[in-house]
Subunit: 414 residues, 2 copies
Amino acid sequence: MSKSAARKQKGVILIADGMGDRPIDLLEGRTPLEAASTPNLDRLAAEGECGMMDPVAPGVRAGSDTSHLALLGYDPHACYTGRGPFEVAGVGLEVKGGDICFRCNFASVDENMVVTDRRAGRIAEGTQELTAAVEGMTIGDVKCFFKESVEHRGALILRGPGLGHQVSDADPHNEGAKVLAAEGVDEASKKTAAAVNEFVKRSYEALRKHPVNLEREKQGKPPANIILPRGAGVAPALDSFRDRYGISGAAVVETALIAGIARYLALDLPDVPGATGGYDSDESALAQAVLAALKDHDFVICNFKAPDLAGHDGNAAKKVKCIEKMDRLVGEVVSNLRGPTHVVVSADHSTPVSYKDHSGDSVPILFWGPEVRRDGVQAFGERPCAAGGIGRIQGRYIMHILTNLMGTQEKFGA
Amino acid sequence: MSKSAARKQKGVILIADGMGDRPIDLLEGRTPLEAASTPNLDRLAAEGECGMMDPVAPGVRAGSDTSHLALLGYDPHACYTGRGPFEVAGVGLEVKGGDICFRCNFASVDENMVVTDRRAGRIAEGTQELTAAVEGMTIGDVKCFFKESVEHRGALILRGPGLGHQVSDADPHNEGAKVLAAEGVDEASKKTAAAVNEFVKRSYEALRKHPVNLEREKQGKPPANIILPRGAGVAPALDSFRDRYGISGAAVVETALIAGIARYLALDLPDVPGATGGYDSDESALAQAVLAALKDHDFVICNFKAPDLAGHDGNAAKKVKCIEKMDRLVGEVVSNLRGPTHVVVSADHSTPVSYKDHSGDSVPILFWGPEVRRDGVQAFGERPCAAGGIGRIQGRYIMHILTNLMGTQEKFGA
């Protein structure tokens, strides 16, 4: 028997998006996390084991997508083929390894195929009906899966034998230009290009006289009479979270990009009313969603977006407030746990207020639960955690450490 | 746009060659760095963020070449095919990926091709003229590039289609032995061997009656009448520093081996009068060369050789003095910086006085500049830095960390 007979525990990873930062003069040389009032995080740090974490590798500026792949144990250097496939998954399409994925716009063209509005007047309503008119298309042995996203955006999957991904865009990226014929670099990509061009042509045929567009024209709005794919990317073949770890998992997240990562790994994605992905997001709703998901899953990962927004906005005071919301989220989760559970708290990357973008600075991390080796760290912050018992680790090891503490990990060797 | 719009900064890496060491009884259990008076290094440590660095990996005894490759972000396990190609670059030849590189000697042979002096009397003058007589040779579709180095030494490149590198030496390595016919292991290497043998033959024809040699014979000196290649190595294809990081760079160095690494990566190599590579080297000249290079480059790496010499000599007192010279070098650079700059100070490896050779002991490292997370370390030394906020990192991550602080790094992901 390669699994331990010890009682299995549950595991939670709570990520404050972009929480890591650099010392700020306005905060008397402290980081926002160090300056914030975080009684719950400090208690967990004092009771747990702390360290510093490089989401991808020391100094590497990670995206939220590459970071979350790493945090879930999937090496982004090996499996990240670009944001396309994960965005497509985020829109709600089921992606399979080898699928050719595209971002799309509903656009407006005239009868000469000249693009008059790349975003069809930022159409907000009716895209579901338009989608119904193009979905389920088959072109030769290529199946097309299309789904609308927010406003004029959508996603397209082409699935079939012998498709390549080195395909140019049908979207000319400029208004006043004609729709482009997609071109493929190699034989496989030429097959994809032909399917793209046929999909574009059929989308025009299906949408030009669609009732939604007739109504829009009546109202003087640009019609959403064509779909223009761009940014082809091939979907990597990844084993699901359950296949990899042998446990069930859910993701409580606020953004489509991270939802895409989660859906790609077949994590369950509960709907969280009140999770807006903005400054006004309801941290209590997220905490309750984590607790609810823990009832019927072994593992839950949660991403709270707000600290990252404040970093991008360069607003130190706001970042402090967002981190204090994170502290309440963590407190609400931890004080309502049922049964032995290990909790990890960290960030997916730093978004320093001084830099206003993701940086490669390491982030603090804590492991809390009945099995950890409690160290001497008394507060959760960049500098305190650097002295912790965990030392400096890379993101791809977190699931190993967590499933080890949970008692669910297979032994490597005899 | 994947790069941050934040202001770009400059970056400097200052390397004290072989500075790392072990506790020495004579120094009351301190290392030479801990025992030396280093007010500038201590100030930077106190104002910066410190840690320990393994140039290649923990415990691995790095060469100066493998270490500098790693410090510049090039994995030596992947790209180091032996010192040959880098030495050839150090001599001043432009090396391309796939080139077959050789170290060579000017030697003396008699009419039976028996080697009478492997170093042609350590010939010191006239090798440029001799080189002119053999350079620009073409053998079939193989181009030969030869350049003289110091004394009897030289370097040879063979460039052409289908050349292998598994070739034995033409140099018999013993006097009184005949020049060897180089032999190749496989078809590609047999082609190389044939070119080597033809090059050796033609070098004899071109040099035996050369005026330089007629004059040497008149003076009773052994003639430099043949060139004997040895140590074949294939040049790895490496992207240039600029291609890899998108910034300009220069190297202020004292030794041919490290100059070879720098030239291989297409770093600019300013000439530094006063940089002797010996104990008497002018550290102020090196500092001024760094400052001058910073005017028109984004990045400068500097290597100060002397501490390594003292380590090889097993002289603790001398090593302390050399490290105090390094301290002055660092002080002169830092107090004359113009504009925001991040500075890294470290060693390329340890050369313990007790061991008299490179060891695999980790080395202290500090990051200093406006964006670092200042930690509690107050002095620059092996033991103080082990408690720093950087923790323990590997050499190949330094450029990630530095370009992150400089604000010049592309983001990985979205």
